[in-house]
Symmetry: C2
Subunit: 260 residues, 2 copies
DNA sequence: CGCAGTCTTGAGACAGATCAACTCACGTGG
DNA sequence: CCACGTGAGTTGATCTGTCTCAAGACTGCG
């Protein structure tokens, strides 16, 4: 209610209105959401822990993030608290997904492994209690439906990725990743495209289920084939997205099974 | 409107009311959904194709199903129709998830690979147009929220599975799978538990990103360690779910990295 | 009973992990 | 402004888990 807003806070709320509450039946809905949401400036490397009180929804107004998860298997294991600390100490933490400006990320309390959002660069986020957000949203058909559509979209993206990770070679995974990033970061799906990857090779490997060395080798091979060029650590230029997408789908030479 | 219902159709609608429209503000919502939904008896092995007209929502009133997907990579590739037939002919079809009684499955039109639902045993399903279902559901806060909660649940399950598939050994994946199935089919998460797996070894392997032979070997190893026993093709008895879950999380002997 | 498809078991090959050096980008401080 | 150091990225050698190919054994159906 106070008027002591950062300019970035005001901007963030604007983005929230235009993205989430677009088409809201009543302008009041947007106002209530803005009031509920807690603005946060998350510096590069900063982490947003899961709220111990309940599921969270995080709206990304600006920046990019990785969703981390600890692979504590299903079971409701409260056998000993050491199981929890294990999550911290060991290398059970993996990148589940990347999220960018304008997306809503669900950070569940703890459904089989706990989740957290880590900033890849300075970010403006708006944090909500999932329950209270939905209490407001459910009264406005356009808004709740928007949220549902987004979560189904995330589900399908996750399923598609799962399909890729489960059954594709390192080459295919990396090619897929680059094509997907071009589409999400530049909205390019054909021709050439230059992008600045906000995540490290390690993050890429982690999200694809590969080691950092393997990712590096795949980049080298793609470079040798003239499909990409790289400048510095983050700039990657895709020379021909179509051809790259070809690499992603076809099983290439790999034993070239006689598929007629 | 006609009264010529199969008894299973009537039963299915009952299940729909009790599961999806539970707590609906107006009983009218349930009635409208029942009227919209198209009942189908899907015999074992039968497939429900994606509706060419739009996304589908399928409610499973009885039985078990696998969600299949073709890994046509992201890109809006309409380069040649042979890309589509490739989906049919080659082994690009993989099991994305299993679904059981009482669940709602989203079968999207075609967002980067097409999806279809295949019956693992005789099933009673109720098929909806996603848009028309949501048109009705969005007017009833309790119902739309129920649907949203379910889709977020599916998203988290998918993410957890992705984490597993991306970073775990064959042993861990199979153990995880068995633990998860015990929880979903028998609601058992500790002690012993006997379950009849409705899916084949091939389906299991496919969903875990493993070959049928590897799955078989893992079953043999678990059997040798006294963690499971099997009877016939589908009956599996988990002797100690807790210990099995242990196998699932710990990286075991595998180079046993010095984790203090 | 016998067939067909599913599952199991074995031997060999390969993609990717692991371990270990080395190089390079980039920010810091002299 | 350039030497310096740290951490990210690259490259190479080796090892191993899983895939592949190929028989063989069992289940469950007609």
């Amino acid at each position: 209610m106070a008027t002591a807003f950062h300019s970035s806070e005001v901007t963030s709320m604007e983005v929230l209105r235009s993205v989430v509450a677009r088409g809201a039946a009543s302008p009041d809905t947007a106002a209530r959401l803005c009031e509920l949401g807690e603005y946060r400036l998350l510096p590069r490397g900063g982490e947003l822990q899961a709220d111990p009180k309940g599921d969270r929804l995080v709206f990304i107004a600006e920046g990019a993030a990785k969703l981390l998860g600890c692979s504590v298997p299903a079971q409701t294991s409260r056998r000993d608290s050491s199981a929890l600390s294990a999550c911290e100490s060991r290398k059970n933490i993996h990148v589940l997904a990347f999220h960018f400006r304008g997306e809503i990320v669900s950070v569940p309390l703890k459904s089989g492994g706990d989740f957290r959002l880590a900033a890849l660069c300075d970010m403006d986020v708006i944090v909500f209690s999932a329950n209270r957000f939905l209490d407001i949203a459910q009264d406005d058909p356009a808004v709740i439906r928007n949220v549902l559509a987004r979560s189904l979209e995330a589900l399908h993206r996750s399923r598609t990725r799962m399909m890729q990770i489960g059954h594709q070679s390192a080459r295919q995974r990396v090619a897929c990743f680059l094509v997907a990033m071009a589409e999400r970061l530049c909205c390019c799906s054909v021709g050439a495209c230059e992008l600045a990857l906000p995540m490290s090779r390690g993050d890429i490997g982690d999200s694809l289920g590969l080691t950092i060395e393997t990712v590096s080798r795949q980049f080298a091979d793609l470079r040798a084939e003239g499909l990409i060029t790289t400048h510095g650590r983050s700039i990657v230029r895709l020379m021909d997205i179509g051809r790259l997408a070809g690499k992603a789908s076809r099983s290439e030479k790999l034993h070239s099974r006689r598929e007629t």
